[in-house]
């Protein structure tokens, strides 16, 4: 049926590839606890830097739930030059158990703490 090493090799790689895809989907599906989307955001204050548009602070947005989230609205507020400034951001989709990096922008380097939170999100 298989004529030579190329065909045997192709068959072997195919079996491994299919087993990996199907096996992972089955395993992940069975071990999925069905928890709801749980987006959270964490600032990296030390990673902030000045740019031409002002001062940006990186943050990591994480979804620790088993369900994806969509239109995740984030907000960061801080005092800048004596005034309260709000920086917001929206992420289209946040897959389950994944994270993305975003940057909050301010007119200048914030004074003191930056309050950051997930304002709202949808469930696709």
């Amino acid at each position: 049926m298989r004529k030579n090493w190329v065909e045997w090799g192709a068959l072997g790689i195919s079996v491994v590839a299919i087993a990996a895809v199907v096996g992972f989907l089955v395993f992940d599906g069975l071990s999925n606890r069905g928890t709801r989307a749980m987006p959270s955001v964490e600032l990296d204050m030390a990673g902030g830097y000045a740019t031409e548009i002002g001062y940006v602070v990186p943050a990591t947005v994480r979804n620790d739930g088993d369900a994806p989230a969509e239109r995740v609205v984030l907000s960061a507020s801080a005092r800048v030059d004596g005034e309260q400034q709000v920086s917001s951001f929206e992420i289209d989709f946040l897959p389950s158990r994944s994270e993305v990096e975003v940057y909050f922008g301010f007119a200048a380097e914030p004074e003191g703490e930056i309050a950051v939170r997930v304002v709202a999100f949808g469930v696709p």
Binding site: V6, A17, I18, D28, P68, P95, R97, S98
Partner: protein
């Protein structure tokens, strides 16, 4: 012939066999990319990789596997193969699709070290579907004449007869492939929701008549004008009606799989099914042309 001569012939045959197998692999991968490229560049397909539940992705992969087996059994020049051989071929086709999908998504930057495993595997699994169809098509239809298993012909009409049920099976596979290209996007939903009942009726009649004309009157290669057998769905009008019904079922399956029917009212679901059914029915017509008119009366027509 001397011993040395026999060894030389054996070595040459082995080298030819390896070359032939390598060509088959490259052709399958190329065919998979040809068919799969549009969906590799479709944003909604990336999203559905992590939005769809595990079991829906597995279900779609299972349907694809069955269609690949059936298509391999019904078309091309492999129809004398045993079930085990067909299964092994289908595993190889799906495996090639998995490898090609992974490499293509890596090249496009859609998967990588910074992407979660669930997201990456979901994306690969969904892209495997069109690529597997393309690889299967390449293996059965795009081989040069005489390359595959002693084949001596190339036109659809040269092959043994494909019965009505076989044609409808291939029609279902081709409908799935065509409809998959748009089912993941929002356009069928928009078209279906906005269309009024009379427009939908018109679209249904139009889909039926145009696909009837394509398969039975337009003189495409693989088309035919005479019934294959005496079955209820072997005539032009009844076969087209059956193929159209299958196209609507395939459309509903895809819309449901992609969550397009969730929370929708009945009229919105029907509208979407009819609008996606246009694409699916054209795919079903193309699939039936691909396997030709079959033998008997149809062979003469199919071999034009």
């Amino acid at each position: 012939m001397s011993e040395a001569g026999k060894r030389s012939v054996t070595r040459r045959q082995a080298r030819d066999s390896v070359n032939q197998s390598a060509q088959d692999l490259v052709r399958a991968a190329g065919g998979g990319l040809l068919i799969g490229l549009p969906l590799l560049y479709t944003m909604e397909m990336w999203w559905h990789g992590f939005l769809l539940p595990h079991w829906k992705i597995l279900l779609l992969l299972g349907v694809t596997f069955v269609i690949v087996i059936g298509y391999s059994a019904l078309s091309g020049f492999r129809r004398d193969r045993s079930l085990l051989q067909l299964l092994v071929d289908a595993v190889e086709t799906m495996g090639i699709a998995a490898v090609v999908a992974t490499l293509a998504l890596l090249a496009l930057g859609r998967i990588g070290p910074d992407v979660g495993l669930r997201e990456a595997v979901g994306k690969v699994a969904l892209q495997m579907i069109p690529i597997a169809f393309g690889a299967s098509l390449a293996a059965t239809q795009l081989a040069a004449p005489g390359e595959d298993d002693g084949d001596t012909g190339s036109a659809a009409g040269d092959r043994a007869a494909v019965g009505t049920l076989g044609r409808l099976f291939v029609a279902a596979g081709a409908a799935l492939l065509f409809a998959l290209n748009v089912a993941a996007t929002e356009e069928p939903m928009l078209l279906g929701i906005e269309a009024g009942p009379w427009l939908l009726v018109g679209v249904m009649i139009g889909s039926y008549l145009v696909t009837l004309a394509i398969v039975f009157y337009a003189d495409f290669r693989g088309g035919r004008s005479a019934p294959i057998g005496k079955g209820v769905v072997s005539g032009p009008f009844t076969e087209t009606a059956a193929a159209y019904a299958i196209s609507l079922i395939v459309s509903l399956l895809l819309l449901w799989s992609f969550g397009r029917t969730d929370g929708m009212g009945l009229s919105a679901v029907i509208g979407q099914v009819v609008m996606l059914g246009v694409v699916a029915s054209f795919g079903a017509a193309a699939g039936r042309l691909l396997v030709g008119g079959g033998g008997g009366e149809g062979a003469g027509e199919g071999g034009r």
